[in-house]
């Protein structure tokens, strides 16, 4: 085990964390502000991946594909809010879970009807295909480095919007006292639609960035959704800061666990036992972490109020 390898794995963990953050940010915003549990967040991730892949193929331009994918997911998200979710804000969480689970089934079928059941091809432009040299001769894919940069930029932008802009101020005010904000003449319904669309676009961004790495197929959103929930539980539900910290912690812990747990165990217990225990433990690691966080700080690391 060399330091170069550890550094590379940390980078991998950061990249995975950034991807989780983009998903978690939208989910936690919607939960924190509108008190809505949205299981269909993974569907918006899938919609983003499909729209971007299809638009890239149609236009022949990667950047145009990305732009159309983002805009498309924003529109789909707002439409879902207006048509299906608006009536659910006053209902309890179980009703929301049931309704948004229905949305998952709806979107998976819709995608299968439009694009078929076969995984979709999703490509990268040549300028994102190479590798950058790290020290000690190891290399890192340019695309993954780009994902890290984009993710961190979005995190900074999100921090600015939520804490420094008028929109963010209204959103925070709406979260603490909905009636008062609307009494002051703010169209809270429109505000919610915008926030939901914004969260959807973040999920779409995660999805379209995941497309060239993962398989673009119906049901792809559910595969990442569980980890995203782990992230927001660790970070503190409703906190964007918590989502960022939680995502990076989960990303790094999961990656390092997968990479180094087995060799590490091998130095302590018999190799054959490490062979069996290593992978099993590595796949449990983030859930163990979540259990510990819940025991020590039940509201998460960065709980709101």
């Amino acid at each position: 085990m060399t330091w170069a390898l550890v550094f590379e794995q940390l980078l991998n963990g950061l990249q995975y964390g950034v991807m989780l953050f983009l998903m978690a940010a939208g989910l936690t915003l919607v939960f924190g502000i509108m008190n809505l549990v949205n299981l269909a967040h993974g569907s918006l991730y899938m919609v983003g991946a499909y729209l971007a892949a299809a638009a890239t193929q149609w236009s022949g331009s990667y950047l145009l594909g990305v732009a159309l994918g983002l805009a498309g997911t924003l529109v789909v998200g707002m439409a879902v809010e207006v048509i299906a979710l608006r009536t659910l804000y006053e209902r309890d969480h179980l009703d929301q879970v049931l309704a948004t689970f229905g949305l998952i089934l709806f979107f998976n079928e819709l995608i299968a009807i439009v694009w078929g059941r076969a995984p979709l091809y999703s490509s990268l432009p040549p300028w994102l295909q190479g590798h950058v040299k790290l020290f000690a001769g190891s290399t890192y894919p340019v695309y993954r480095a780009a994902v890290i940069v984009v993710g961190l930029l979005v995190a900074a932008l999100l921090w600015y919007v939520v804490t420094r802009s008028r929109l963010g101020m209204l959103v925070r005010a709406g979260a603490s006292n909905r009636t008062m904000v609307s009494a002051l003449g703010v169209n809270i319904q429109l505000l919610y639609t915008i926030v939901f669309g914004f969260g959807a676009a973040l999920a779409g961004l995660a999805g379209l960035m995941a497309g060239p790495i993962y398989a673009v197929q119906p049901g792809m959103g559910e595969l990442i959704l569980i980890q995203v929930f782990v992230v927001i539980v660790i970070g503190g539900i409703g906190s964007v800061r918590g989502a960022l910290a939680g995502a990076i912690i989960v990303g790094v812990v999961d990656t390092l666990g997968r990479a180094f747990l087995k060799p590490l165990l091998g130095t302590m217990i018999a190799p054959t036992a490490a062979e069996a225990a290593g992978p099993a433990l590595a796949s449990m690691l983030i859930y163990l972490l979540m259990a510990v966080v819940l025991a020590v700080k039940p509201a998460g690391l960065f709980a709101n109020r």
Partner: protein, 384 residues
């Protein structure tokens, strides 16, 4: 009254001469693409037979097992009791197959497996009424192991998902590959991101990589392997990872990939060429081995029903006729081993650039095994 009875009589007669096949596969969720290849292949087989399997008017009842053993059992029971099917065929997954076979054979009907290759069914739990037109799970990795061994490759890095089939594949590989294994890595089932494993792999600098990643996992692993720039550095040998169900999503990322399999759409066998050509014409895409096996399943049933002159009541005669496997298979001459699993050749395939819509296609490079039998047939006590 008499008129009514007369009117019903011919209908009843016709009913007796109708053949019903229950075909179970997965038609929902991500694996539904495999089910689609299988179902479309059954349609091609029916078309080749003029809609008459074994010369009888045929109805195929499709069932979606949703990737769940309990749903598979429910479907089989419904097909046997309500639809009164004469044969049950299909099934992608070993765990579904293990649950469904006792239901079908218990009802005295014949089950024709068109994909799942659970080793108990080839060995100690082999059954008079169970036939397979596919393979046993570990035969493809055996073929790959044989090839790697013959090629004298040392320092192999092994990756597979951490579940039973993953372990079985590695066991099959090791049965024929005796070189050094640098590391054996088992990843979480349905894992999406392999960058951590790929970084570890590169740091160990192996001579070759063997992997088993079916379905979406395969698309992810291969894409990420290529993006990491390893395609030209360390050759990647896989089983059940790159095929015609995943090629459309991989395209140029698959080029150079090695696979081991019993069949490829480019195989120079007349029955196979006819099947592939007609399949492409009818559905506009290239069939995978999942489809080819399903086509063979229908052709096998056809041969047996034909040989018994459509007498579906005589199961013993049907089994006897099935054992002869007297039909034009996509493999050429089809022979059953004593355990009702095919004895067949295995090939090394490579994905090469093509002018087709996928930009890449599988080609046979060389034969890895001639008339290969699975490792479990000696545990099967069946007498022919």
């Amino acid at each position: 009254m008499i008129a009514a009875a007369l009117a019903f009589a011919p209908a009843a007669m016709a009913q007796q001469h109708k053949l019903k096949i229950g075909f179970i596969t997965t038609l929902s969720g991500p694996p539904a693409i495999i089910g689609k290849h299988m179902k479309d292949s059954v349609e091609v087989a029916l078309e080749h037979l003029g809609g008459k399997v074994g010369g009888l008017e045929t109805e195929v009842i499709y069932g979606d097992d949703q990737f769940k053993p309990d749903v598979g059992v429910q479907l089989a029971e419904e097909m046997l009791k309500k639809d009164q099917v004469d044969f049950v065929a299909g099934i992608i997954w070993s765990n579904v197959m293990m649950a469904v076979v006792p239901v079908v054979t218990g009802a005295g009907k014949i089950m024709v497996g068109a994909n799942a290759g659970a080793s108990p069914l080839a060995g100690s739990q082999c059954n008079e009424l169970y036939f397979s037109t596919s393979w046993n799970n570990d035969q493809s990795p055996e073929a790959m192991g044989k090839y790697l061994q013959d090629k004298g490759i040392n320092d192999l890095y092994v990756l597979a998902p951490n579940y039973q089939a993953g372990k079985d594949m590695v066991a099959g590989l090791k049965r024929y590959y005796k070189g050094r294994i640098v590391d054996e890595v088992y990843t979480k089932f349905q894992q999406q991101d392999y960058q951590a494993e790929i970084s570890q792999l590169r740091s160990k600098n192996p001579k070759a990589v063997f992997a088993f990643y079916p379905g979406g996992m395969g698309i992810q692993f291969v894409k990420q392997y290529v993006q990491a720039g390893l395609r030209d550095q360390i050759p990647l040998y896989t089983v059940f990872t790159v095929d015609e169900t995943t090629l459309p999503a991989l395209k140029e990322a698959a080029i150079g990939q090695y696979e081991a399999r019993f069949w490829s759409p480019d195989i120079k066998i007349p029955a196979s060429q006819k099947y592939v050509a007609d399949f492409r014409k009818k559905f506009g895409y290239t069939p995978s081995f999942y489809g080819a096996q399903s086509y063979d399943a229908i052709m096998l049933i056809d041969s047996a029903v034909r040989a018994t002159q459509g007498n579906l009541k005589d199961t013993r005669a049907l089994v006897k006729a099935m054992r002869k496997a007297d039909f034009d298979s996509i493999r050429g001459r089809f022979t059953f081993n004593v355990n009702h699993h095919p004895i067949q050749d295995f090939y090394l395939l490579q994905a090469v650039k093509s002018s087709g819509p996928d930009g890449a296609e599988m080609r046979i490079v060389q034969k890895a095994f001639e008339k290969h039998k699975d490792a479990y047939s000696q545990d099967c006590k069946m007498k022919w």
